[in-house]
């Protein structure tokens, strides 16, 4: 949707920061999850080995993706699953819709799928007169509020219980001002139960698809994916093609890493294996490209496809914690989103790789060892070369490069810069200067280091003594 005007990350984040209490709460909540992750990850002695193993398995998958996809398709079909291929978001949505149309069903229950967010499936189906209910509590809350999720694992993490109470009061008729989480959850459960019982089509995401067996695994904590899929006549599972793993035995590596990295749990409450439809029922799987093969072809960015969507990089990211997920204007927010999004649309997402201090925490927390911060750096180079930077910045950078390449010019510029700061502070201490808004400028010293060195170094003293 490149035609839509997006608000740049810095602007959206500045707005989010207006409410200090909310930012603090957001930061502290996610830091709490990150700390939990540390505790449970560090209990496993071979944690780093596990990460390396996972990274290598995914590397193998990406290097042989064609063969594994063919193997998976053949095995899934043998199991009685109907396999579909979608080149992009549009095809994905059309396929899902065609299955609904075939069964003449106007309602769908959905669970755990960031891919459908990426493809904007809900909007598409709504246009076709199909009602979609997201059944995971967090997703359900943001859906009622007509907002996208702000985090891939904790979709409503930007909201406080007061916000949820207000939303439920409005949409579900719960008691106004009742903030009790127990009460609110129970109300949502009651309302969702009816949905589960009446829906004929259930859509879920896929965490891992096993080439060797043609089965797939969905990991949830609430069990909603299972409730939906087990009660419906038709189960549609949608996956990006990178979700493949070669063998069932590899699941042990990923399931241990996923839950610990995501929330600090040893394992998700439900890790459900789906292999074939029940008698008389249908099971579909839609395998989606949507830019993934382009990313696969970009050597510098290929590793981003290793992602298992645990969200650890978001929880650890000091920028994400203080920006809120919506500021990333992309289905996947945070550090990983910032290296995936430019692949989908460079001009719309050119701001995201710059929304980072390159601190590197994401890279080191990532369970599959994606070199996230290095890719952020590399995206910046690509985006500048492709002309997606403001002109003023390019001019400033060119001037800077000229000054810094020439010692004489540098000295003059440095001296005059210090002169200006000292004698006409208004020139720099003004509204145009973003540094000065909430920070003081550095004090200006009398002389630079090199001026001091000229007078005081051992060499120059020795020279003076000679004379």
């Amino acid at each position: 949707m490149s035609s839509e005007k997006t608000i740049p990350h810095s602007e959206a984040a500045a707005k989010f920061n207006k409410d200090v209490e909310r930012v603090n709460w957001h930061d502290e909540t996610l830091w709490f999850v990150r700390a939990k992750r540390d505790k449970s990850a560090h209990q496993i002695e071979d944690w780093e080995l596990l990460r390396e193993t996972a990274s290598q398995i995914k590397f193998n998958v990406l290097s042989n993706i064609h063969d594994y996809l063919v193997e998976f398709e053949a095995n899934a079909q043998r199991n009685g699953i109907i396999v579909h291929w979608a080149a992009d978001a549009k095809e994905h949505n059309e396929i899902v819709h065609s299955i609904m149309a075939k069964h003449d069903v106007k309602q769908m229950v959905k669970s755990k799928s960031m891919l459908t967010e990426e493809c904007h499936l809900n909007d598409y189906l709504a246009e076709k007169g199909i009602e979609v209910i997201d059944s995971d509590l967090g997703e359900y809350i943001v859906q009622l509020r007509k907002e996208p999720p702000s985090h891939i694992v904790l979709p409503a993490i930007h909201l406080k219980k007061e916000d949820v109470s207000e939303t439920f009061h409005e949409h579900l008729g719960t008691e106004k001002g009742n903030f009790n989480p127990q009460y609110l959850t129970e109300s949502a459960r009651q309302s969702l139960r009816n949905t589960f019982l009446t829906r004929k089509v259930a859509l879920t995401g896929v965490n891992f698809a096993v080439a060797e067996t043609g089965e797939f695994v969905v990991c949830t904590n609430e069990g909603n994916a299972d409730m939906g899929a087990h009660l419906a006549d038709v189960h549609i599972a949608c996956m990006g093609f990178e979700k493949l793993i070669p063998k069932r035995e590899h699941l042990g590596v990923f399931l241990r890493l996923l839950a610990r990295s995501a929330t600090g749990q040893p394992i998700t409450t439900f890790s459900s294996h789906f292999k074939k439809p029940r008698d008389g029922k249908e099971m579909h799987i839609v395998i989606v490209d949507n830019g993934r093969s382009t990313q696969l072809g970009r050597e510098d960015f290929r590793n981003s496809l290793k992602c298992i969507r645990c969200g650890a990089c978001m929880n650890t990211c000091p920028v994400y914690r203080r920006s809120g997920g919506h500021s990333y204007h992309n289905a996947v927010a945070g550090p990983i989103g910032s290296i995936l999004a430019p692949n989908l649309d460079m001009s719309k997402n050119a701001d995201l790789p710059f929304a980072s201090t390159l601190c590197g925490s994401c890279t080191n927390v990532c369970p599959v060892k994606i070199d996230i911060h290095d890719q952020l750096y590399k995206w910046r180079q690509v985006l500048v070369k492709e002309g997606h930077t403001p002109k003023a910045k390019t001019i400033a950078m060119k001037t800077m490069a000229t000054v810094l390449a020439n010692p004489t010019v540098f000295n003059i510029a440095g001296k005059s810069g210090r002169f200006v700061m000292k004698n006409i502070p208004g020139m720099v201490n003004n509204k145009m200067n973003k540094w000065y808004d909430q920070r003081e400028m550095p004090d200006v010293p009398e002389e630079s280091f090199r001026e001091w060195y000229k007078k005081n170094s051992r060499e120059s003293k020795a020279k003076r003594d000679e004379q």
């Binding site: 496993i44 920028v319 710059f354 500048v384």
Partner: protein
């Protein structure tokens, strides 16, 4: 052992005292230190902003100034990391490689090359150490909290040897301060918030000084501290290590 002193451009212009402390400290430790007068900047501000292709002039100038030293030492982890990772020159790649292999951040030079783990200094204050991300995760000057590995810290090891220095331990040991080069202005709101939070952590431990190995982080924190009229001061680690009182 002939040492080329690499003083980052903004330290040269705004924090000469950090350059002086580094120079004097290295001399005290017995090094033959030279400051090549033609040096300017390592090119990091351009590269991190996506303009790595404009750094050729900087690279050539850096090589012209720093070739031929046994070691190059710099009181800034971030600039050292940039040189280590990105200094290239098609026409003189050998020289560039030599520099990449001999450039050191000040504290790692002291602990790893000079093999010194004790400095005779005195600094009777309560101090918080802000580890810079580039120093820590990039140069591996200390262990990061993300990894499952034993803790170590080259700068802290040196600080522990300073007499009467009370080094506190932060709640979030290695959170980024939010400076991030041009990030500090392009993402001003988040940058400042991160800096304020970093300061709060130090405040809650009641420190007198925030120290660190990167003046850029300290410049950002100092700007916020001064705006808040805080009593906490920033000080570069070179200044502490050079603070022998007779």
């Amino acid at each position: 052992m002939k040492i080329g002193l690499f003083i980052p451009c903004y330290v040269d212009q705004f924090y000469p005292k950090v350059g002086i402390a580094t120079y004097q400290l290295l001399q005290k430790l017995g090094c033959d230190v030279h400051f090549p007068m033609g040096q300017t900047c390592c090119g990091q501000p351009m590269a991190n902003s996506g303009y790595a292709h404009l750094t050729k002039g900087c690279d050539a100038n850096f090589i012209a100034n720093f070739s031929g030293f046994d070691y190059i030492v710099c009181p800034s982890g971030s600039c050292v990391l940039h040189v280590k990772d990105h200094l290239h020159d098609e026409k003189q790649e050998e020289k560039a490689a030599a520099i990449r292999n001999t450039v050191y951040e000040l504290t790692e030079f002291i602990t790893d090359v000079l093999k010194i783990d004790h400095i005779d200094g005195r600094f009777p204050y309560k101090v918080g150490m802000h580890v810079s991300c580039h120093g820590q995760r990039g140069l591996k000057l200390s262990q990061m909290s993300e990894l499952n590995a034993p803790f170590f810290s080259k700068p802290e090891q040196l600080l522990h040897s300073i007499k009467d220095l009370d080094l506190i331990s932060l709640t979030r040991k290695d959170e980024c301060c939010g400076f991030g080069g041009t990030f500090c202005v392009t993402e001003e709101a988040v940058s400042v918030k991160m800096g304020q939070d970093r300061i709060k952590d130090h405040e809650s431990h009641d420190v007198d000084y925030i120290t660190g190995g990167d003046m850029s982080c300290l410049m950002h924190l100092d700007g916020i501290l001064k705006r808040q009229k805080s009593r906490i001061k920033t000080i570069h680690i070179a200044e502490i290590l050079n603070s022998l009182e007779n």
